[in-house]
Amino acid sequence: MTRLLPTSALRTGAALMALTVFASAQQAVTAYTNATILPGGKPAMSNATLVVSGGKVIALGGSALKAPEGAIVIDCKGKTITPGLIDASFQSGTKSEDLNEQSDEVTPHLRVLDSIDPEDPRFQRARNAGVTTVHVMPGTRNVIGGLGCVLKTHGTDPKEMVIKEDASMRIVMGAEPSMSNRAIRGGRVNSMYYRRPTTRMGVIWAVRRAFYDAKEALNKTQGAPGDAPPSPGTQILTQVLQGKVTAVTTARSEQDLRTALRIADEFGYQTIIDEAQDAYMVADELAGKKAVVMLGAPSAEAVAGSARSDGAAPRAGTVAVLAAKGITFVITTGTNTAALPLINEAMFAVRNGLGPQQALDAITIEPAKLLGLSDRIGSLAPGKDADFVIWSQNPLDPAAVAESVLINGQSVSQPR
């Protein structure tokens, strides 16, 4: 008993100390000094200091910026700091069945957020490779799949991770949405999959009909108040037409890319083009329409998975073509199962003719702008979320390792 008392007292003391440190970590000021900082959207700074407190960046500067008094100083000599990477088209690990509501081909109101599991190993993998924010969308087996959301890659509750709900509505071109459907050719019709669309034409017909209904609903609401409200799906489509919800059209082959632009024109909504493997073939049209492109896995030589039959022919040089035409684009991992970690996709883009800063911007500040979140994430500046990565060297070097990944100022890296 006499021995037990002091030991337990010591233990309690140690626990208290640990608690105090933990509690103050949120408010403590931490300075990361002597680093090469690539702040996102701006040129690199050498011997720079990043000061973080309360989950936010409070200062960023060159060697002239001194760590505030009382700050925890972490010497980052030889290391490179970048903003946390943003994957604007990220495939979550949720099973395909749960990412696609197959009872209807047009389900604009379904939320991918409802199927998010914070312990999804893909979040963990992305986080370990420096990705701190992802834009997740429903699957690609529906013509209009539903609403995407933007999440930080760390948390225990999807509601805490989400930084933008209903961030986008996905429309899918090509063969995938019609894949599981069958045409009636006699015999017993014993499944809901005997339905339209079964062809590319049918897919576009479904898109057109959905937007036609939405337009009708818009006109009706204006004309006759007191009418029954349109269906939840149609309500989302009307918001797309009004520019309140961003449309993202997943299109890979040349013909699908052209169709995506044409349909958007026809109904007068703006759309981001997702995947866009054949973008180099339609670069002039994309530039002319001022389209924004989320280029899926530009390093991949082919489209793997169920979109293989879309007939897209990806080329490594697409990044350089888009850059030369002045098209706004971001680099994503997208739906291609052959995608590399996001940082390596940027690295390959550099190898294929994109400038290093532009490549890094395409996975940091550009996706932040595209998602409407550049006031919070995508670059390192006072007031922004303290989401950043400490790399062993320049992250575009193939040997670079994300040594430390921080979200809201807290380390989320795992031991290697």
Binding site: D98, S115, P118, E119
Partner: protein, 398 residues
């Protein structure tokens, strides 16, 4: 004449014998050295009577222990279980009695206004497995295949046939994998979530609503408990979100990954009906009951009736207190089913549903002597003997 007289005597004798045979209306006094009237999650709060008795009248507990009036005690048929222990019978919170086919309307996934009571067969063979496992009442739940399956009932087994004591009690929902059917809406979890969100919204805000949405309104007003099949993190999280949005505390059926949502479950006042445990399970699963209890989340078990005791024993071996484990087999499920006044305890007014064990039923070595349902012996080797004689010393007698 002589012959006639003789016949008359025989007749009178026969009549006397018939009268001596206890009738249904006669009180029964059940004695034992230990009677647990009700379990509590805190051991000292268990209501335990030593060398006491229960007086059963019309299938219910009429008096307990010292409250039994002397004249009723004298008039009653006495059953003495000697040094055995009498505890409340087990309550199986949710079962389909193996009749999933009849309890999941296949055509559409949203059928909250169907009644499982309509599919109840009192002669079902599965009912015969309940009393031998100590189960004296059960929740008849719709199958997990429909997002809103229907209204569940509460029933009891019997020596020959079972019966329902409350035909319309709780509502059975499901967002588990079996509710997501690739041949009808919804096929996905987000589809199931959306279906619930839209239906509850319409039930809350709609002016003219049908009988199906009226059921959801009863859930929101707390009139009916809501049971949701949900197993994975995303499924449980979806159910808790729906509960929070529409202001009710759900009861999760399954809840395999509930450890990951434990704080949220506690915050939302949700309960869990865990699947019965087995020794082959991962340690984390076996420790789950103790963790849920620590977080203040009410839980019980459902699944194979013959594994209820084993589940309680395994939970105790992995950190749960005996009294909480016993509560999880009796009072907790009774409360979840809203039947705490009728089953799960041996208080005055409750059904005379109890189990008799030689020792504590949490000890797997304790011998199960008998199960009584509605004041009648439903399982036990001495059934015939008990019914025949006025004073019976049964197995386990002093």
């Amino acid at each position: 004449m002589q012959i006639l007289n003789q016949n008359r005597t025989t007749g009178a004798l026969l009549l006397t014998t018939l009268l001596a045979v206890p009738t249904a209306a006669q009180d029964v006094l059940v004695q034992a050295s230990k009677i647990i009237v009700a379990y509590s999650t805190e051991a000292p709060n268990n209501m335990v009577l030593k060398d006491s008795a229960l007086l059963i009248r019309n299938g219910k507990i009429a008096f307990v222990g010292a409250d039994i009036p002397a004249e009723a005690r004298r008039a009653a048929r006495v059953i003495d279980y000697g040094n055995a222990t009498i505890s409340p019978g087990f309550v199986l919170a949710a079962t389909t009695l193996g009749r999933d086919v009849d309890l999941g309307e296949g055509a559409i996934a949203f059928t909250p206004d169907l009644l499982t009571a309509d599919a109840f067969d009192p002669w079902l063979e599965q009912l015969d497995t309940l009393a031998p496992a100590g189960v004296t009442s059960f929740g008849l739940v719709p199958s997990a295949r429909n997002v809103a399956g229907g209204i569940g009932a509460v029933g009891k087994p019997g020596l020959e046939q079972g019966r329902l004591i409350a035909p319309e009690v709780f509502v059975g929902f499901s967002v588990s994998r079996s509710a997501r059917n690739q041949e009808r809406q919804p096929t996905s979890l987000m589809g199931a979530h959306q279906m619930l969100r839209e239906s509850f919204t319409e039930a809350r805000d709609g002016v003219k609503i049908g009988p199906d949405l009226a059921i959801l309104r009863q859930v929101m007003s707390g009139q009916r408990p809501a049971f949701f099949y949900a197993d994975t993190f995303a499924e449980i999280n979806a159910v808790l979100d729906i509960g929070a949005s529409f202001n009710f505390a759900p009861i999760i059926l399954g809840g395999g990954q509930s450890e990951r949502v434990i704080e949220k479950l506690a915050k939302r006042g949700a309960g869990i009906v865990l699947n019965t445990l087995s020794p082959m399970m991962r340690r984390a699963d076996l420790e789950l009951p103790a963790k849920l209890n620590k977080a203040g989340i009410p839980f019980c078990f459902a699944g194979r009736p013959d594994q209820l005791r084993l589940s309680a024993a395994l939970a105790v071996r992995n950190g749960l207190s005996r009294s909480t484990a016993s509560t999880a087999l009796t009072r907790t499920p009774a409360t979840m089913l809203g039947q705490q006044a009728n089953v799960g305890a041996l208080r005055t007014g409750c059904g005379a549903d109890f189990v008799v064990f030689q020792g504590d039923f949490i000890d797997l070595s304790a011998r199960h002597i008998a199960t009584w349902v509605d004041g009648k012996l439903a399982h036990g080797a001495s059934a015939k003997q008990a019914m025949k004689t006025r004073n019976t010393n049964l197995t386990g007698g002093r």
